[in-house]
Amino acid sequence: MRRRLARHLVTPAGAALGAAVLLLLAAACVPRLLSAYDPLEIQGAQSLQPPGWAHVLGTDLLGKDVLTQIVFGTRTTLVIAAGAVAMSLLAGTLIGLVSGFWGGSLLDECLMRLIDALYIFPDLVLALTIVAILGPEHLESVVVALAVGHVPAYARLVRGRVLSLREAEFVAAARSIGASARRILGRHVLPQTSDVIVARSVIGFSGIILSESALSFLGLGVQPPTPSWGRMLRDGFQYLATAPWVALAPGVAIFVAVFVFNQAGELIRDLLDPHTVATRVAAPPGHVRA
């Protein structure tokens, strides 16, 4: 395992990926180190400056430095993505475990119908609806809206794994010595499913970053002045003809973040499961829901 990890990371691609992850994390944790400007300071005289020496990516309408905005937006993006991944992972795993362990029961049936109902919706449509219900003013409602759409994927993944493990010898053995369901699930079943969900959740990051930016683009994401890549894009769209950098630069940031997590997820999956073909068929890379 460790040797495999080393082998993957020592390649130039692996090193670049690692560096990119570090950069994203640095931007999220200590944005001030990476930017020369205050993200909130309005500089009327600097309004809509094209990229140049003073402002590498130009300035927006209020004269705020675009690069600074992007750096400060990293934290917003990563916090939301982490929250949504954690939440969907938790809910999905729980539903999957319960549903799979008592597979075929009425409980399983009900849970799966619920999952079907959620699965039917394209996640952006679902997120739009949920934000309309909860109101976009809280960060948490954005997180919930993005998380709900990803629950079915984990639930199904885990349920499938549990169903196949249920009849495995070690589970039968645990059962025969009278272990409780909670213990069997927690001690024996859950560890066996972790490899599927770890890889899936890293890839899930990239899907959620995409959805979050789409939500912000539609005006339903985090509220200003908290910097947000999607909203920068939206505000910049108005000036596309006269100041294209305002809209185009944050798109690159979204692209890079999605790319990094997508690739990291695939790397991890390759590490955990060397014969990846089977997993690939189960989930086309990057497709957030299938």
Binding site: L40, I42, G44, S47, L48, D60, L61, L62, G63, P136, E137, G219, Q223, P224, P225, R231, D235, F237, Q238, Y239, L240, A241, T242, A243
Partner: protein, 520 residues
Amino acid sequence: MTGQTAGGRRGLTRRGLLRGGAGAAAALIAAGRTTPAAAQPPGVLRIARGADARSLDPHINARLYDRMVLYTLYEPLIDADGEGRFFPVLAKSWEVGSTGLVVTFHLRSGVVFHDGTPFTADAVKWNIERVLDPATGSEHRTRFEGIIQGVQAVDATTVRIYLTRPYPPLFSELTDRPGLMVSPAAVKKYGRDFGRNPVGTGAFRFVEWIQGNRVAVQRSEQYWNRRAIRSTGIVFTDFPEPAVADARLRGGDLDVVALEGLPADDVLAFQKQSAYRVVLSPAYRWEAIQMKVDVPPFDNRNLRQAIMYGINREQIHTVIYRGLGKATGKFFHEGWWQDPAYNGPAYNPDLAKRRLRESGYLDRPVPLLLYVLSSQVPLGEMAQAQLAAIGLRTNIRLVSERDQYPMVLRGEIPFTIPETWTPRVDPHGLSYILWHSKGYANSSHYRNPQVDKLLDDASATYDTKTRTKLYRQAERLIVEDASYVFYYAAPDYAVMRSQVRGFRYGFDLMPRVAEAWVGD
């Protein structure tokens, strides 16, 4: 794309023409397609608007901005020019009785609706009663209710409106949607579907409405003033994103872009190019920060005045609006009633800080929640920064275009930017509904007995001189009480190819495009 211009102006749709069924117009458009460019007859005018039509029934659910389309299909009895003077349309003349309680309109004769039914005094009576009837569900009912006592069709071309009290603003109301004349026969025929089968007396008749895309109209050959109309048809396409509309105009696929809220930078960019022309409306749309004055902390006049003096109007004007329009602290900017000697309060940080201290909120700060229109985020951030500079901390919540006004009206958002209104042709219109204690749109719950009296007195006389004096006094009181903090006023802008002629704005900031056409 641009090469297609030689092939003639983009015509109305084939499908639309079949449905419209007017052979003459079809022939004209077909001719337009084949004639060489030089001898090309004026063709179809292509206009971009900011949103899809909501309803083409002027009395029910039509959006404010649907008026550009409505005025090609329908006509009012009278309309107002850029200076706010009324001129005859379906009425040839009108007079106010000596008591001020009876208004008589003499109608143009020989006018027919697009469905062939005649336009008569009975139709006028029927239309006004339609707006007044609660069963119609017209949101404009409040504009006539309690004011119009009855309507009488004296003969085919004479109609009398009886009022409960002298009411000069009636003429202004009649130029807006409730005053547009629809065909009674068509309303009976289509029922609740009339909103997408509009029939009026206007210069253009309805062809098609592809929802979410466009409305097409074509010239009515029976129109009473047919000679004044040069375009064979008009296509209104909706472009929610200005960047997309701009690209189409540059690509030669549009003649006019008349989007509400066109980004100022775009307007400036087009102004520099000789191939395009920018037309400004004669009147102004004002913007303000609105506060609900019966809830703390906004019930504190000193706090409101701190905001009033703390807003740097010049900065907003130059940065957000790129120097277009004007930085201003008042709300009357047009017509005979505007006060040239008054410009409202100006930015004064020292005074703002003093007022804040006097308000008591400097020592015990309260977190203020400023609701910012989601399409105006930079404006909100700038206001936030300016208020922070005088020591007032605010947080921002975004509110969508559709949510903002309903939430203001229900008192759910007591502090919002921007609240914006377009002027009416009479000062009474807005000032009464917004600041009279009985005004239906007085969502800031503003109450000043002095203002009430001034507004009551001013709307009860037809004497313009007296009214001018009263309204100017009221304006100062309203501004200084700062339930609304005014900071900006701007005309609306339309960008068009320089060949477009005859495009004009009404006093209400709505383009009147019936007489517009593309010249050589």
